[in-house]
Symmetry: C2
Subunit: 213 residues, 2 copies
């Protein structure tokens, strides 16, 4: 048995002990956040966002309300918790773009990175959108999320030395493409081209639309 | 005295009688809405939006709270009551554009019409923006207003037979130009070019930005 094996065995035994201890205390739950999110999405879809309580979500997930609030600030965060991740992906994409890229190329590259985040989530995105479409308060929250993404993106472009109004216009154009592209991507009944492809086509359409002015 | 003169005289006398009746009852107030709006803007600027009450607005305007609520649904409507007018101007502009105009030309023409709405209001727009910038809830309301304008504009373009994604992209591009243009227009310390000129230049910048993709 090597040192590494001993370490692994120790780690495993600690994990096993923890598992049994927590199980005995009724608190060990694999991926509590994921189970709570699934339960919440089911209930929002079945009864509506407004009508669903945190107690019901916890009950369906076989967990407590206290556990819910350890993972989510409120009912809305189940739907909007991904915004921070989306923002981080976009910013990484802006940083990773080549130094000589034009503003719109940087934005397109950043959005292409976001594509990876959504690739396996089309059916989740669809269910989420249906819940949002049914509730004006959630629609407003979604608008605010997108507007904030545009502001963050514009700031990241300015950090790269891009001036105004180019930074703001490229960021707004990119978020417009994301918004329209996302809608088309989830509406596609054939689960056709991925979000990245859809957005690439839209950048082309936007170029044609603005060139006509 | 012609029939028209008699009618005019009658109308005037009724107006004069009404004037005196209302004055006697302490209720005749010229442009109550305008006085309330001015008082509200002063107080929002001096003490902040959140800290100002409707009672204080009414008091500064020399009117009652009841009169305030005859003209405004709440404190926010003083700042956002113009949204309906803005929407109406945009839609008129879309309808008035030549039949063979490209989508982005229709949007630009509609925004040029909005210019007339703002021409004499730069200092009002500046004070309003300062109040909004100081309050996250008002910033969200402003974002929602602009997103709704984009949606209304896209729908008006579709009504003119423009397909998707062109209608949505042209509308989003136009509102991006409006948003960025408005910011630049109120920030100009020299009260230079009007909003219409600023937006025209931005349509050119947007064309250059998207062409680089």
């Amino acid at each position: 048995m090597s040192v590494a094996d001993i370490k692994l065995a120790h780690t495993l035994s600690v994990t096993v002990i923890r598992y049994h201890r927590h199980r005995r205390m009724g608190r060990w739950k694999p991926d509590a956040a994921g189970r709570l999110a699934s339960a919440a999405m089911e209930l929002y879809g079945e009864y509506g966002f407004e009508q669903t309580t945190v107690a019901e979500i916890a009950e369906r997930a076989g967990l407590t309300e206290r556990t819910f609030f350890r993972h989510f600030a409120d009912k809305r965060e189940v739907l909007f918790g991904g915004a921070a991740e989306l923002e981080a992906f976009l910013l990484e994409g802006v940083l990773a773009a080549p130094a000589d890229a034009a503003p719109i190329e940087i934005v397109a590259a950043a959005l292409r990175r976001v594509d990876g985040l959504f690739a396996e989530r089309r059916s989740f995105a669809r269910r989420r959108q249906a819940i949002i479409d049914a509730n004006p308060e959630l629609q407003e929250r979604e608008l605010i999320k997108l507007a904030k993404l545009a502001a963050v993106l514009a700031a990241a472009l300015r950090d790269r030395g891009i001036g105004e109004p180019e930074a703001s216009l490229a960021a707004e154009a990119g978020i417009a493409v994301f918004r329209v592209g996302f809608e088309r991507w989830i509406a596609d009944p054939d689960d056709g081209p991925g979000l990245g492809r859809v957005m690439d086509d839209l950048f082309g359409s936007l170029r044609a639309v603005t060139a006509a002015g």
